[in-house]
Point group: C3
Chain length 139, copies 3
């Protein structure tokens, strides 16, 4: 059994989806992983990890707009307001999505669908330094 | 360490929950898996994997109706409209739920609660061919 | 390869977030787990598992209030009403969040961010006995 860890750092600059599929695949290739599970976890509660369509960029814009309407930045709605109007909505968006994904690797290939990409979904307005832990367990 | 893969194909026919608990358990039994993790991932971004109640079918109807109200099929709300009025809402519903689940197997038994079943939650209106990757890692 | 299982029991008393980070870490320490994956799964469909901020308790209050507004307890909205006005909303909140989390352990340490804690998010009004399966696979 083989295990490896890697901390992917992404510096974000506002509410966007940041794709990191290529960085993850590069790390897999460099390590010659054959068959195993890749556990991704983001070490924050105001940004998410999601698997989404990597074709039409409008999908990402619509996602961001939808979540912004669903969870309004309105201080009157929340008790936790000391960290900025975007902070409590960011915690809620994190709860509505995911901060962890387990992916499968088979014969050295990450098993994603044709239109699937890996994204960090940033919910904060100002720049942030984010860490996504990559943990491989397999052969 | 033992690893096995299996692609479960489900042909869907509209917005419904499609249970596949039995197919998953059959595959586990056929392979005599003892203790390990079963990673399920759907290779699409317009359908979800969820664990839900398998007793009262009204729960499924209510879930579908709730998500349809929460994410309206209304082209005026979205930029991504070329694939049909149900496509962008389907991407959003996928982000609000899950496209991956890791389950535990102990002494040849899949650890689900008494009322829990495994479902593919289809968000598109027309027929679709869906693939759910099953990946076992254990002894 | 080493595998261990443990059923953590939590008796809940209404809609709250119940932190169990310490119980999980105690179990890891007692077993001297080195590197591996810890799969947590809740055996119910009316309560969730989430990773959230463990600093300001207002974050938890805001989360509970937000989800209560998003998924109203109003029998007129649902067909499944026989188990109480809070039951169908609880199923929906479960679908909107998670009933399973995979965490990484590296060098005997559970990899959570500085402000991250593990919570059972109870969606039912009356007392419940909940089980969270802990399953470790690693070395």
């Amino acid at each position: 059994m083989k295990q490896e860890f890697y901390n992917l750092k992404i510096n974000t600059n506002g509410q966007k989806l940041y794709e990191f599929t290529n960085q993850t695949i590069e790390w897999i290739n460099k390590n010659n992983f054959k068959n195993g599970i890749l556990n991704l976890s983001i070490q924050h509660t105001t940004a998410s990890l999601i698997v989404q369509e990597n074709a039409d960029p409008d999908v990402q814009t619509d996602l961001i707009n939808y979540f912004d309407k669903l969870v309004p930045m309105d201080d009157k709605l929340y008790a936790h307001t000391t960290e900025g109007k975007d902070d409590m909505p960011a915690h809620i968006k994190s709860a509505l999505t995911n901060n962890q994904i387990s992916l499968s690797i088979k014969q050295e290939k990450l098993l994603l669908g044709t239109w699937q990409g890996l994204y960090l979904f940033e919910h904060r307005l100002k720049t942030q330094n984010r860490t996504i832990i990559h943990h491989y367990i397999g052969d």
